[in-house]
C-alpha cells in the first residue's frame, strides 16, 4: 500500500476506507496483528448552515428526530474517520483497532467530532 505523499492526496473520498480494516475490538478477527504503530486520531469541527439550522429549530417545535443534524453529524464523522485513516496510512499501517468516538461542543452551533484508535499492521 502506497502512503499518500502530500495534502493533495488526502481526498475526502470514503471509497478509500475499505483499504484499511477498522474494528472497535482489540483484535482484527480473522487476521493476526504483527505490530502496533501507536495512536492515530482524526477530528473535525462543523457547524450547520444557518438556514438549515433555523429549519431544524422549527422542526424542534414538535420534537423527535432532527434529520438535518443527523446527516450533518454523519458526514462530519465520516470526515473525522477519513482523517484518522490518513494518519494510519502515513504511518504505514493497514488496520485500525479499538476505535473510539468522542463528541463535544466547542461553540454554539458547532460540534467537534473526534475519532481515535490504534494503528496496526495485520497479516
Amino acid at each position: 500500500m502506497q502512503p499518500p505523499t502530500g495534502t493533495e492526496n488526502q481526498s475526502q473520498n470514503p471509497s478509500q476506507q475499505p483499504q484499511i480494516l477498522i474494528s472497535n475490538t482489540e483484535t482484527i478477527h480473522g487476521k493476526t496483528i504483527t505490530s502496533s504503530l501507536g495512536v492515530v486520531t482524526g477530528s473535525t469541527v462543523r457547524a450547520k448552515h444557518i438556514g438549515k439550522d433555523i429549519l431544524a429549530g422549527l422542526k424542534n417545535i414538535v420534537g423527535g428526530e432532527l434529520k438535518a443534524y443527523t446527516e450533518l453529524l454523519q458526514e462530519s464523522r465520516a470526515e473525522a474517520m477519513n482523517r484518522m485513516l490518513m494518519d494510519c496510512l502515513n504511518r504505514g499501517g493497514n488496520a485500525v483497532v479499538n476505535v473510539r468516538f468522542a463528541t463535544s461542543n466547542v461553540a454554539n452551533g458547532a460540534s467537534e467530532l473526534f475519532a481515535y484508535g490504534t494503528a496496526v499492521t495485520v497479516q
Binding site: N24, D53, V62, G63, Y69, T70, F101, N105, G109, S111
Partner: protein
C-alpha cells in the same frame, strides 16, 4: 371604536405568535412522538420475529464462540430533540427535581432507534453479527435556537463480523 378593534386584533396576533407554537407543540408534538415510538416498536418486533434472534451484542466475543472470517466497523446515529413544550415542562420539573419523564422519553426513543438502525445497517452490509456495541450520547447546541430546546445526538457503533 376602530382603534379598540385594532388593539384587540393586535393582541390576538401577538398571542398567536407567542403562545401558538407552544400550543401546537403541546397538541401535535405528543401525538407525533407517540406515532414514531409505535412505528419503531413495530419495526423492532418485525425484525426480531423475521430473524429469530438479535444480531447486536455488547460483548466482544460471542458465546459460544464461532470462527470469524472478516470484520469491519458499523455505525448508526440519530439526533433527537425535545419539543418546545417538553423543554418548558422539563425545566419546570427540574426545579422540583425527580425523574424528568419528558427527557426520558425522547432519549429512550433515540437510543432504541439508533440500535435499530445499527441492526438494519449490519444486515444491509452483510454482517452476521455485531459485537462490542457502544452507545454514545452528546448534546447539540444550536446557534439559532438557544434555550428553547435541547437536542441530543446518539451514536451506536460496533464491529460487524462475518462467520466462516
Amino acid at each position: 371604536m376602530a382603534d379598540e378593534l385594532a388593539g384587540v386584533i393586535w393582541i390576538l396576533v401577538s398571542l398567536t405568535f407567542s403562545i401558538g407554537p407552544l400550543l401546537f407543540s403541546w397538541l401535535y408534538g405528543n401525538h407525533y412522538q407517540s406515532k414514531k415510538v409505535k412505528q419503531l416498536l413495530e419495526r423492532e418486533s418485525a425484525f426480531l420475529t423475521q430473524h429469530g434472534r438479535d444480531n447486536i451484542h455488547s460483548i466482544s466475543n460471542l458465546i459460544p464462540p464461532k470462527p470469524i472470517a472478516n470484520c469491519g466497523l458499523v455505525m448508526a446515529n440519530i439526533s433527537v430533540g425535545t419539543s418546545w413544550w417538553q423543554t418548558m415542562i422539563g425545566r419546570l420539573h427540574g426545579i422540583i427535581g425527580g425523574n424528568i419523564t419528558m427527557f426520558d422519553r425522547v432519549l429512550n426513543y433515540g437510543r432504541k432507534e439508533a440500535l435499530q438502525r445499527l441492526r438494519e445497517q449490519a444486515l444491509q452490509q452483510g454482517w452476521d453479527n455485531v459485537i462490542n456495541v457502544r452507545l454514545e450520547t452528546s448534546r447539540i447546541v444550536s446557534s439559532s435556537n438557544q434555550g428553547k430546546s435541547s437536542a441530543f445526538e446518539i451514536l451506536a457503533y460496533g464491529t460487524g463480523i462475518k462467520h466462516q
